[in-house]
Symmetry: C2
Subunit: 251 residues, 2 copies
DNA sequence: CGATAATTTGAGACGTTTCAAAGCGGGTGG
DNA sequence: CCACCCGCTTTGAAACGTCTCAAATTATCG
């Protein structure tokens, strides 16, 4: 497995005390297994390269990961962010290579779970299978919503949607402040790679959303949504329906 | 469940005799269960609307389905095509609504599988779980490759990739002719909804690929790839690696 | 406080969309 | 069997949104 960390211990963002979504449902056997091999990552550490041999998956304890794919010319698309409490399995259908690059977007702590261990757990624990499945379906729904907007919408809509998705997921793990404001450990470049835009245009678009009073962006990507209804309307989102769709536990 | 068919029995495209990928691996119990409730659909039939109450999933015997999502203004994104031998489960994380619109793109035959039946089967048959998981991982990989290109590439690349993906999947189910040529039951409008382009631009791009000798498109979307290497290069694809990634059985 | 990276803003180029009209082709009804 | 009609494809021309390039500004860190 690859490990490469441009040491840049910055951004003290961590969602301490966040519990995995299956907390309390599965026997402690899992807790122990998962807890055994944890790794502390500094910002920029790459857990797996695209095409790498890989036999483990990851559960994020704190910090964010990004799963990205690249074209030969270098253009990068971030496919998913992995937030505290979430799992990510980068293993392709061949069973032994990673189909994405997995990178820590800030200092992070992850549990490393061996593929065979995981397979055994999944086979033995129907409850774990169930919660895994819920997570998978929710992830697929998120991916679909993004695809819909990247394929069919303007920059404004793509970013409005992304901000709403972040808001919901951050609220879910309790990583928002009293006003629903939240911080994302991303630069505009990364937001661009996520939404399929250039970083310059991300900047302009965020600026416009600010100007129109829909949001406020503080330093270092502190997001505050001021007019949630208008933002949802812009993004073409029904807030309640979306939450049901993309947040696993809201069942 | 909804049923609505703009009767237009055209396009005699069917992949007769195609067997599901788990053929022979799972006991015949499954074959019987799955085979029981089959439905014959005419082109344009909608199996499920977005947000509809739904308690079943589908296995396609012949014909193509499209899974699509729409924005309030009407823009449509096709997320996945379901080919003969494939399954599709449109049920969202809430367990009882469809998160996509599922539509027959030509006359088709599908097996309808009740959600509870399916859950029981999955729980009882580890082999089925395994093959299900392989299919899921492959579908996720396909979705990711598309997202990468819709987000980061030009029209030419998006379409080149789509044609390669079709080619691989059609080859896999034996629906190509001697020369590797194949037919897809889509119009340019649908290819546009799949690639995130306007139908006009799909037309221009296909024309250019023809002019440059990469492909030939006959009447009614008969595709022949003439310079596979060049097309793959254009799409930014390593053919062998991609096949491994997006075709379930190539394990 | 200086060096370096990230954001912001401007101006022009480029690719894609939109609108519009013309060219097919296949199916239907006369 | 032909004529008509309708939907899909093709082509052109102009409008639009986003990208690229470049420079100024602002934050960050040693």
């Amino acid at each position: 497995m690859s490990l490469q960390g441009p040491s840049n211990p910055q951004t003290n963002w961590t969602a301490d005390g966040v519990l995995p979504p299956w907390h309390g449902q599965v026997d402690t056997n899992l807790e122990r297994t998962v807890g055994q091999a944890t790794r502390v990552l500094s910002k920029g550490t790459i857990l797996a390269f695209e095409g790498d041999e890989l036999h483990s998956l990851f559960s994020v304890k704190s910090g964010w990961l990004a799963a990205a794919k690249s074209l030969p010319e270098g253009e990068r698309q971030i496919l998913e962010f992995v937030l505290p409490g979430e799992f990510y399995d980068p293993i392709a259908a061949d069973g032994h290579t990673s189909f994405v690059q997995l990178e820590a977007l800030c200092d992070a702590v992850v549990a490393v779970i061996g593929a065979t261990t995981w397979a055994r757990l999944l086979n033995d624990l129907p409850d774990l299978r169930r919660s895994e499945r819920l997570r998978d379906v929710a992830a697929r729904a998120r991916q679909s919503e993004r695809m819909l907007r990247v394929g069919q919408s303007s920059a404004e809509v793509r970013i409005a949607y992304a901000l709403i998705e972040f808001s919901m997921r951050m609220t879910d793990i309790g990583a928002t402040d009293e006003d629903g404001g939240y911080h994302i450990p991303l630069g505009q470049q990364q937001l661009a790679e996520f939404t399929g835009l250039s970083s310059v245009h991300v900047c302009r678009t965020l600026r416009r959303l600010n100007r129109n009073g829909l949001i406020t962006t503080g330093d270092h990507m502190d997001i505050n949504i001021h007019d949630e209804a208008a933002l949802a309307d812009l993004a073409g989102v029904d807030l309640d329906a979306l939450r049901q769709e993309i947040i696993p536990e809201a069942a």
